[in-house]
Symmetry: C2
Subunit: 471 residues, 2 copies
């Protein structure tokens, strides 16, 4: 589309401005930047030509909405994305400053460049391109951009429940996943769920001198390590009783497809910067990451926090655990199993408690859904080859929430590539992928507008009347 | 001594000023306060009447010296103390601000009130009282106050070696230990040594998304926990092979004395704020803390540090371990055993390294040394009862360094009490103990001045010529 080509320089400059806003949702000291990100996005949506653009408050970070419902008889697409980002620390590991949005060698470098500012912005620019050239969209569109994805979308489910009718759509689409490579598009058809918890071990009432009390009082950090060490067996399996009970077995055809189309062990290790593989025996690395559940210890801290080396036995210690779940595991049930396990292994010398931060179900996406077919055609048009079906090891809670609360399938139309370093230092997004992302979004909306369906007999006014948000 | 009573108010005010200087030696951002503490102390020493008062630089925090060598034929006492303090974090746990030096209910509250500012300052005020009332001291005195005790005295051994001659004395005395209670003096006759190390587990080159890589790459934090969990066996003993080989066996008479004079299990647990005991079977808690070695995990951190919850598998993880050693364990040998252990248990999926921060030998002090007899008499005079011989679970590296490098015994003339919360929040020092400390220091100097000895035939000029510092 020539409009995209002619305006790509401007689009890129706008994305740079977006990335320069350090909208780190988990950091309370940066809440005003998250707000700033929302405002910036709101302005963009207005300029793109969307109607009823709103910044809706939640208890923490706002949701930005917009819509275009003037295609009566056509299907409706809910476009989702998030404008918040992960923390950028450790800052010293970045080659270019995390929030400078430096462009070098065809990449935009910065936190959020690909996760998810660059990818979601491709849809915004697709809408703008269509509206500014033809004055209309091939489908009805509702946009829903949140600022809390990186902290587990705590306020989204309630928003979805309250606005079930306003958010009614035939499919959702989001771009927050990776392709197999910059030239090989991929459609994610499964996501792992997540149970993120904190295990806290409470010992003495206050920190103790490690000389005066070492050897006589149970050190909470030691206890915590001993508990964490019991979470895996020697074969790399999670040692919590009944943990694997509901893990779905896949047939040979599915495993063959994964082996044929998925990344080889070496490729995954290379990307990880790891020399050796590790994990559950009997599975390829790709299978361990997608068909099998996992557990990562993502943080340990002790005492009440505070700086400086102290020669003390801390009064308490805390471990952050991230379980990644697969069909048909239920986060709530796994949480119960974890609680039982802790009750069994906790020594009587301390108190052990559990706090749950994220509970998200695994998701499977129907490969035969018309929106998935439209997505495949869109990729084919822009990349010149069909997408591969992939499974992701990550979790996108919103996908299962859209399914559960809105009853709709989500197309994961990813434009990021391996090596874009999502969540790590040196995150980046290829400008070519940005351009192709805009074109693919346009093609997807056009293809889905042509998809066979039985349209409800509703006028634009009716559709707009229904799409009023309650927040 | 009436001078002490008449001036106690002023002395207390001076101690408050001293405690208000946040001379946290481990915190680089507070280096100027450590310097300020040294300068303040230098002024105090000058005003007390000591001669050749000097602030001697080291590579980090200065040493403050002073002397009075005008008692020819009398023995020489080396008074040691430290003007640096532990960090005060977590600040929210303090009832009174850590550096306000608030006086309430007969206690001076603040970081360093007892460890070691209040206790060492008792000696300074004892010297001042003697010099201002009688114009002379009953013995020769050399003062050596350092600012790096809480970080393991890294530059003291070299200073002692260089100034072996200048620091020549018949005994050292320091007040950095606790009595059994505010009215029951105690002479510490054994200290545990320490080996403080950091175990670092290095995994992938950079932090990894815990969804995209969880289950396929060995998590350094998990590995670290599994290593730490193997450091103790189920009986609370340290599971490093040969760790106990050189631990001295004590006879029944010694154990009986400890049982008779030492704190009961309940008292130690009460002070720790712990409901349950833990540790090596077959020993009382007091024995576990003094006759037996121990290991505390004092801290764990991951990644490159940095704030905020991040859903990542960290690229590295680090545990701080504090081994407390007993006669006849050698820190360097234990370090070798730890290295062997790590080499054996480290999985091939990660790299494990060890960094050593503190290596200090355990120390035993001869109870029959004339200085110890003088100390016992001094306590008897001031407290009206003889001291109990106690063993300490803590480590004071300088005691074994004085023995090794200067060839002198150290009298641990402690004035702190259980409940003074050394190293913890709400550290405090009883003003009554401060007063008695000054009086006991005076009595000790007087008693030791009467101790039988064969004085070398040296003039004041000769003694002063010898006592020139090289720094």
């Amino acid at each position: 589309m020539t409009f995209v080509d002619e305006n790509l320089r401007r689009f890129t400059g706008e994305l740079q401005a977006f990335v320069r806003i350090p909208s780190v949702s988990s950091d309370p000291t940066r809440a005003r930047f998250v707000q700033q990100g929302a405002q910036w996005l709101e302005t963009q949506l207005r300029q793109s030509g969307l109607t009823r653009v709103l910044m809706l408050p939640t208890k923490r970070h706002p949701i930005v909405c917009g819509q275009w419902l003037s295609a009566p008889g056509k299907p409706t697409v809910l476009i989702y994305g998030h404008y918040d980002v992960q923390p950028a620390e450790p800052l010293q590991d970045w080659k270019f400053p995390a929030f400078d949005a430096e462009i070098r060698d065809g990449f935009l470098h910065g936190r959020g460049a690909s996760d998810d500012k660059g990818q979601m912005f491709a849809h915004v620019k697709a809408i703008e391109s269509l509206l500014k050239t033809g004055g209309r969209l091939p489908v009805n569109v509702k946009c829903l951009f949140e600022g809390e994805e990186e902290i587990g979308s705590p306020h989204l489910p309630a928003f979805l429940t309250r606005n079930r009718r306003a958010l009614h759509a035939d499919t959702a689409v989001m771009s927050d996943t990776r392709m197999l490579g910059p030239d090989q598009p991929a459609l994610t058809c499964s996501l792992r769920g997540q149970l993120a918890v904190e295990v806290e071990v409470h010992g003495p009432h206050h920190d103790l001198h490690s000389g005066n009390f070492g050897g006589a009082v149970h050190d909470p950090l030691q206890v915590l390590c001993e508990i964490v060490a019991r979470l895996h067996d020697r074969d790399g399996r999670i040692a919590i009783p009944n943990f694997y009970d509901r893990v779905r077995k896949w047939n040979d055809a599915e495993r063959d497809y994964l082996a044929r189309t998925g990344p080889a062990d070496e490729a995954i290790l290379h990307e990880a910067g790891a020399s050796e593989a590790w994990g559950e025996r009997g599975y390829s690395i790709y299978e361990r990451l997608t068909l099998r559940p996992s557990l990562a210890v993502t943080g340990i801290s002790e005492g009440h926090g505070g700086a400086g080396p102290k020669g003390v036995i801390p009064c308490q210690a805390l471990a952050k655990l991230s379980f990644r779940l697969v069909p048909d595991q239920e986060p709530a049930e796994i949480e119960r199993l974890v609680r039982c396990f802790l009750a069994r292994v906790a020594p009587p010398t301390v108190k052990v408690s559990l706090k749950t931060h994220i509970r998200s179900r695994p998701a499977l996406i129907d490969r035969k859904h018309p929106a998935m077919r439209a997505a495949a055609k869109a990729y084919q048009q822009v990349f010149g080859k069909p997408p591969v079906w992939v499974r992701s090891g990550g979790s996108i809670p919103v996908v299962s929430e859209f399914q559960r609360l809105l009853g709709i399938t989500t197309v994961l139309l990813g434009f990021a590539s391996p090596g874009d370093s999502l969540h790590g230092p040196n995150e980046k997004f290829s400008l070519k992928s940005f351009q192709r992302g805009i074109l693919t979004s346009i093609a997807f909306l056009e293809e889905f507008g042509r998809a066979p369906r039985t349209p409800p007999a509703r006028s634009v006014e009716q559709a707009e009347q229904e799409a009023l948000y309650d927040y």
